[in-house]
Symmetry: C2
Subunit: 200 residues, 2 copies
């Protein structure tokens, strides 16, 4: 298809597609003349991924390039791919580490995670802020919350691994993480209502 | 204690405490002279609740008054109290209902919730937005997410019901809901990392 057709298929204007081409986040089409090229389904998929990253993930173009390079590099494992998508979404992490509470929690759970990575650090900060505001987050409470969120993560992984292509898996990680967060928080409130009604 | 001591204990300046008194969200102390009054532990607890609502819940003073009135009304059930706190946090709901997907989900789960309430409506909107962005939220996926969040809600309820007083229970609902959201989302990402590492 021509670039104008790619624009129609994806809902992304031609000038934005040209910007993606210049920035190297959209792979070039097959040249058909000195000024035009032919694009296929892989371009549609790529544009959708880039839109998801930019619109929903708030990822800057440099971050998009990191993800795209991971997709194009010779066969990384799906675990590595997901890690790349993940870290790009997290943005630059602090150097502060997760803090003692979270380090103990992760060790107690036996989870194999990057204890000095951006997510463990974000978790440490969130726990600290909630405790400072008076939330009674004991070790036992944190463990129960962690186990419930592990069930959520298993669904997330099932969806990412069921994707047809690496690009589609990345798309699912990004959209699934960013856009499903509000779904989970709304479910929490509805579930609180249900739990409270049952105990009343 | 005097109002200046109440300010010290709670970290809230005297002029803010006077504003709370004028607005009726802080109950008056026992008068000790024409211009001063004596405050007790119930005032400390109340100020903490008001701060939690305003600072973390983003609740306007009118909403705080609704919660305070519910606390002071003759013995409502704890379920009713939690419902009041809950609805105040939700803010004004739409009139649009939850939508078919969420209505079916809630029926399938057998949850006794207010299907036309603000939370079910918020859930309906979140699901629609996530699907529009390409998140593969099938009925089965939503059900699995809902069951995981139900486990979270059971912890939430345990904490609220273990509180010593109705005001403390309210405080836990507000702080627990608003400040624990980021903890849960951070746990989700760490759990994704752990699940991905185990499956790799």
């Amino acid at each position: 298809m021509r670039i104008s057709q790619l624009a129609e298929r994806t809902g992304v204007p031609v000038h934005t597609l040209k910007y993606y081409l210049r920035e190297g986040v959209l792979q070039p089409g097959t040249p058909t003349s000195r000024t035009s090229a032919d694009y296929g389904e892989e371009h549609v998929e790529r544009v959708r991924l880039v839109r998801a990253l930019v619109e929903h993930g708030g990822v800057p173009v440099a971050g998009v390039r990191t993800i795209v390079e991971a997709l194009e590099a010779p066969p990384p494992s799906r675990h590595e791919l997901l890690g790349t998508a993940h870290c790009t979404l997290a943005g630059p992490g602090g150097d502060e580490g997760p803090g003692e509470v979270v380090a103990d929690l992760l060790e107690g759970l036996g989870w194999r995670v990057w204890a000095d990575g951006p997510f463990a650090a974000a978790l440490g900060r969130a726990v600290e802020a909630a405790r400072a505001a008076g939330a009674p987050l004991s070790e036992d409470v944190l463990r129960r919350y962690a186990e419930a969120m592990r069930a959520v993560a298993e669904v997330d992984l099932d969806l990412a691994l069921a994707a047809g292509s690496p690009a589609e898996a990345m798309h699912r990680v990004v959209v699934g993480t960013v856009m499903v967060d509000p779904v989970l928080l709304a479910l929490r409130r509805v579930a609180q209502e249900a739990a409270s009604a049952e105990r009343a």
